[in-house]
């Protein structure tokens, strides 16, 4: 008895729901239309601008005729800063005590501390310090996040002279491991 009536009801409900949905769709469409025409959606233009700029940057990067040296002098980063291609801040090498430019620091350290034949012959601090460093080479570098806190804690408590070697190893290893 109520079978066909229920079907009718269901059909009616769906129809009414469709009406409501259409009405909301038109509302949303007209709102977006309004925003588009009035230019209220500033993101719209900004995105266009950004897409253009990123396409430009990509073209410049992909362009093989640009040499990286000369280009980095004139390319501006997202904050509007230009950086020289070789970092120019000057530090003191903790191994040999010389003043080195930051951009030249890594190659300097290579020669000064490690791989070179001449470096191995150099005795800067003490032979034991150098030996410890070579023996504990890789493990120490993995310790660096921990040695950060532990070594500073120990240092603040006052360093006993016996463990002085260890601390100096710690402090020597961690800064350049961090960088």
């Amino acid at each position: 008895m109520s079978g066909p009536n229920e079907d009718n009801n269901t059909q009616l409900s769906s129809h009414i729901f469709g009406d409501l949905l259409d009405s909301i769709i038109v509302d949303v469409a007209s709102e977006c239309h309004r925003i588009a025409k009035l230019g209220l959606d500033r993101n719209l233009e900004e995105e266009e601008e950004e897409m253009r700029l990123s396409a430009q940057a990509r073209a410049r990067v992909a362009d093989p005729s640009n040499s990286s040296e000369t280009n980095t002098k004139y390319v501006v980063d997202i904050f509007g800063q230009t950086h020289p291609s070789v970092a120019t801040e000057i530090f003191e090498c903790m191994n040999c005590g010389r003043s080195i430019a930051a951009g030249r620091f890594a190659p300097h350290l290579e020669k000064c501390m490690g791989k070179g034949r001449k470096a191995r012959l150099k005795v800067t601090r003490s032979s034991t310090a150098a030996q410890n460093r070579y023996l504990r080479g890789s493990p120490v570098s993995t310790y660096s996040p921990y040695s950060n806190s532990t070594s500073t804690n120990r240092l603040s408590n006052g360093t006993p002279s016996v463990a002085g070697e260890e601390y100096s190893n710690g402090t020597y290893e961690e800064p350049w491991n961090k960088t």
Partner: protein
Amino acid sequence: MSRPPPPPPPPPPTTNKDQQRQNPSLQEINIKLIQSGEKERLKELLRERLLECGWIDEMKALCRAFTRKKGRNNVTVDDLVHVISPKGRASIPDSVKAKLLQRIRAFLASTAD
């Protein structure tokens, strides 16, 4: 001129007497919906649910993408409606649709009395 209001049209003849009052036309239902304010409430409910589930944001994103491609000044409302409609109708979450249908059916049941 004073004339008595015309009598309402007689209900269409039906085979089953029970169906006489229970099979009103869509137009009558619509009038009842609007007059009682239920249509507006239903629309607000639907809009609220669609907003919560992010459907409206999706539609707006579609509009923005279309506007960017076609150019801000060449877009018409009609364009946008055509952009949104198919995708929009298909991506209504089932829970939202069920809730609305439930309310509509409840209304129909209440007016059938």
